[in-house]
Amino acid sequence: MSPPWVIAGWGAFMAIVGLVGVLFFDLKGPETPAFFGGVTGVMVVLGLLLRLLRLGVSAPDGPRPSPDLSPATAWLGVSLVLLATGAELGLWLVYIAGGMTTVGVGGLVRELRAERRAAEEEA
């Protein structure tokens, strides 16, 4: 039992339930089979990807760079909320939040570079 199989298996179970609906019941429209198909597709593809990319196993032991703080992420979160709210309150807020988002993304890039450097030094 490995994560890819659990994920794909869950999707397959959804496919079976959906198939029962398609074969034995009049589902009255495309929505029901579409949702079952969508869930099955997402989970089976996710399971397959994990299996093919060998990401479905627990990572080996050892030290990892782990950020303690990420002010840029918090900043980005607030910026995105303001950006969305700007859709309602007006372009002035969209402009401000857009600028804030750019600063946030820049901060994130800076944090990730620092993290990579720290990992290289640790190695």
């Binding site: 039992m1 994560p3 429209g29």
Partner: protein, 533 residues
């Protein structure tokens, strides 16, 4: 064991609280914010119940009442229950699987800010000229279109729901990646604690259904700007499909992790290994899959779905639910049960959720659903699942894990008062609603005519609601007393069975200095049994 690179940590700054990537801090922030929204939504419920205590309008206008039940329901689902269920997971799943941290820790941090921001935006509707959204938490179209619900408050509702649920989705993705990638050596899937498995099942529902609500909210927002999307023929039914495909799994998302927590508390307080672990894990996964297959039962009366098919899937849920109940009872059977406060809440969960579950089987039958649709029977049913499942489950988790989080025990006497009052309040509030609904009282009404003779039952429900409020006041007193001067808990006050009880209380940044060998889903119980042998 996994280890994080040691980075000198600054303590006590504002940044530590708003920008920490430590899973424990994000989990606590999420849980604390969700509980704040719970109290706010509870205050709205008290207002509604007080208004309904007698026939005639006493406290609020009918328009304000519509806003109250919309924001109450929306807050309880979107801003309390779902984030709380994931918040507990953010704190404890890494500890339970022996990980030092989350995978992609920035993702849940971003998720937290989107959730908080979404909540603030949603509640800001009360500050707008036309008030908050007033179309119910399910925003049925055309009630939610720009003609019937004009104004900024309704738009804020759409934006708030979208932002907050995107936040919860990000938390879920990071948690799932952590469970897949950061398990300690020896922690195979079938050695993961039940709570972690219940989070896995929850996240499967989150990753498949939450993207749908994001799409739905974008489409509704665009529609409200004058673009015809749901106003096309069949659009109202399409809205219901989109909304319920998300919202029915949501109902399970909000209590599923707590099923796992209750299972662990029952095992720990029965001083036994959890009975039927493998079958329960399978039943959790099947439960989650079936709950993603039943959204159409909310649409029986539209006649736009196959009632027979959705009745079949809805009734089939009784099978995995029955397996879990059987496992709970079998774990207690023959155990040396300690009736500590966490166990009292767990038993409350089992009993109250049973009422919600059994009434769910009735309303899964289309003829009976036609009879009680949009009546207070449905209100009673889902409040037993949510109050019995989510609220009792969450307090089970809080009393059980509070010592781990704070290093202090919550007061036992006040805890018992809390459990007793809350249980009595839950019965007194929601049992009368079954009778009211059976007598024909519709849901979401601000008033009823005196000739219906519904006053007594409504008054009982209102007294029950205030009893629940009293129990929560007791909890708050207990919480602050314990935080300020509670009894030290040590690492493992309950003789727990899972890895989090190895860590210090509260756990340090990197969680563990060393881990025991993991040979089963109850590694600490294994250790104790070997020491005794």
């Amino acid at each position: 064991m996994t280890m994080a690179v040691a980075v000198p940590r600054r303590r006590g700054t504002v940044l530590d609280y708003v920008a920490s990537t430590d899973h424990k801090r994000i989990g606590l922030a999420t849980l604390g914010t969700a509980l704040t929204f719970f109290f706010l939504a509870g205050a709205l419920a008290l207002l509604m119940r007080t208004e309904l205590a007698h026939s005639g309008m006493q406290i609020v206008s009918k328009g304000a009442y519509n806003e109250l039940f919309t924001v109450h329901g929306s807050t309880m689902f979107f801003l309390f229950a779902a984030p709380a269920a994931l918040g507990v997971g953010l704190y404890f799943v890494p500890l339970q699987v022996g990980a030092a941290d989350l995978v992609w820790p920035r993702l849940p941090l971003l998720g937290y800010w989107l959730f908080l921001g979404g909540g603030v935006v949603l509640w800001s509707g009360f500050l707008t000229e036309q008030g908050a959204a007033d179309f119910g938490w399910f925003a049925f179209y055309p009630l939610s279109d720009s003609v019937n619900a004009p104004g900024t408050g309704a738009d804020f509702w759409v934006l708030g729901v979208g932002l907050s649920q995107l936040g919860v989705l990000l938390m879920g993705i990071s948690l799932l990646a952590t469970i897949i990638r950061r398990r300690a050596p020896g922690m195979t899937l079938l050695r993961m604690p039940l709570f972690t498995w219940s989070e896995v099942a929850t996240i499967f529902m989150v990753v498949t259904s939450f993207p749908v609500v994001l799409v739905a909210m974008v489409l509704l927002y665009v529609d409200r700007q004058g673009v015809h999307i749901f106003s096309e023929p069949g659009g109202a039914i399409t809205w219901q499909h989109l909304f319920w495909f998300y919202a029915h799994p949501l109902v399970y998302v909000v209590f599923f992790p707590l099923v796992g927590a209750v299972g662990e508390v029952i095992a720990t307080f029965s001083r036994r290994r959890f009975f039927g672990y493998s079958v329960t894990v399978l039943s959790l996964l099947a439960f989650a899959a079936l709950s993603t297959s039943v959204w159409g039962h909310h649409m029986f009366t539209t006649q736009a779905v196959s009632n027979r098919f959705f009745s079949l899937t809805s009734t089939a849920i009784a099978v995995p639910a029955g397996i879990e109940y059987f496992a709970f009872i079998a774990t207690m059977w023959g155990g040396r049960i300690r009736l500590g406060v966490p166990m009292l809440f767990a038993l409350g969960f089992v009993l109250l959720f049973l009422i919600g579950g059994l009434s769910g089987i009735f309303v899964a039958s289309p003829p009976l659903d036609y009879h009680v649709h949009d009546s207070y029977v449905v209100v009673a049913h889902f409040h037993y699942t949510l109050f019995g499942g989510t609220v009792f489950g969450l307090f089970t988790a809080i009393y059980y894990w509070f010592p781990k989080v704070t290093g202090r025990l919550l007061g036992e006497t006040l805890g018992r008062w809390h459990a007793g009052l809350m249980f009595a309040g839950g019965l007194l509030t929601f049992i009368p609603m079954f009778f009211l609904g059976e007598e024909g009282m519709p849901r979401q009404v601000a008033d009823y005519a005196p000739f219906h003779h519904w006053d007594t039952l409504n008054l009982l429900a209102t007294i029950g609601a205030w009893t629940i409020f009293a129990s929560l006041a007791v909890f708050l007193v207990n919480l602050f007393r314990s935080l300020l001067g509670g009894e030290p808990a040590g690492r493992d006050p309950w003789e727990g069975q899972t890895l989090e009880w190895v860590a210090d209380s509260p756990p340090p940044r990197h969680n563990f200095d060393a881990l025991p060998r993991v040979r089963s889903y109850a590694p600490l119980l294994d250790l104790r049994q070997r020491e005794r042998a």
